[in-house]
Symmetry: C2
Subunit: 235 residues, 2 copies
Amino acid sequence: MAYMDRDAGAGAGAARQNVVQMPFADAAAHPVTKVQRHAEHTVIFYEGDTADRLFELEDGIVMLFKLLPDGRRQVVEILKPGAIFGLSAGPVYDVSAETLTSSRIGVLDRRDMDSSPWLQRQVTHCLLRQMETMHDHAMLLGRKSAAERVASFLMRMVPGRGGYGCLGPAEGGKDEREVVLAMTRQEIADYLGLTIETVSRVISDMKRRGLISIVRQDRIRINNVCALCKATGIH
Amino acid sequence: MAYMDRDAGAGAGAARQNVVQMPFADAAAHPVTKVQRHAEHTVIFYEGDTADRLFELEDGIVMLFKLLPDGRRQVVEILKPGAIFGLSAGPVYDVSAETLTSSRIGVLDRRDMDSSPWLQRQVTHCLLRQMETMHDHAMLLGRKSAAERVASFLMRMVPGRGGYGCLGPAEGGKDEREVVLAMTRQEIADYLGLTIETVSRVISDMKRRGLISIVRQDRIRINNVCALCKATGIH
DNA sequence: CGAATAATTGAGGCCTATCAAACCGCGTGG
DNA sequence: CCACGCGGTTTGATAGGCCTCAATTATTCG
């Protein structure tokens, strides 16, 4: 539960050293003015910072999170390439953003959104997808058991399965899949509203029952996708 | 789920003459084609319905919720006048919508959003505010205790207090405020990720400690707003 | 006024958090 | 090469908060 800042104190300064800013070739057609490169686990912005810039995740994984004064942390979103973030209704960011893996991130001026209808459409569509994810996540946090949360989390890593248009297992083959978590147990716990110990116990239990295999700490093989899906609570 | 009278009370023609203030600035360019009137606790659309229409809440309160097959429900958003809902990234609604109070709701065609940049701006700004609310709510569901959830819920009803720009108690007066819940205990519980009994117990405990007074089942007087705010976990 | 619905209160149990210790992978350096 | 230390993970024991089930009380409405 207690969130320990990896780069306590000098964190921001040390993180910025990893940032390489590059001019974007096609600045005229595309409003991205520069590109940042971040190492893994570096903060992009903090909750409360002036929200004058937008970001587009070009490569890598980024998490958005909020903190309570006593250190409790909730990871509210996990962003994949293509996502736009740093959007805010008010003058400051309402969440903090941190890379989970090394990332390439396009930077835009917030005002570009007002001047570019094209960008606005991108933003709106991105927000709609994020909103659906948030709705699912609210259901997960409010109503699902620990086992259902972890199962849902793993299923989230398997594209095209578990949702409305789930195709079911591919014909004639084993219904297995290997996924890369790219998150520590602490980050998973903070995303799922659980403790690190509970996440670990659930994963161990799934392993014991043959549902999954642990390839490495952050690589899990799902031995039966359909069976895991049935453990998410949505069936 | 008993009633299927989704358009019950929708009197577009008669509704117009009663409209005093339009939430949108320019009523002439406004693409609202008709206005629905719904009694309290009527469903506007169901999760899974074809998402061909947008809605703008002109008056009343609406909740968005999701259901699991076994009946567990999570209320994901509570909308106040001015909110736009029924937005979806996919072809169908990802949530169900139901009125909490009798409501007046403007109906738009989904395609209007593509043709009207002005509407798109409205939608984007509305989505941004909803997203911030969802982030807060994820923190509530994932990391807050039952008492903190109820306190946060009550503080949500007091405009201008508890957020970043909280002004503190007004000068020279008692810091009290009466709020109308417009929700049953079950709906509050489903919103806060708790059971009806736990909500009831927390409210009783707050009453016992003098923090609040129960005027009526759905009217609560907060005797000390600042004290309640300190129970939300954000201080 | 009485039935139906909603809310409160109580008793007990389960699930998850907490606290604590052991374990593991991995890079370091003797 | 292997002991060592470090951070992260797993496992165990225990406790506590919230849920479940059940009964009572309050409120609404015909």
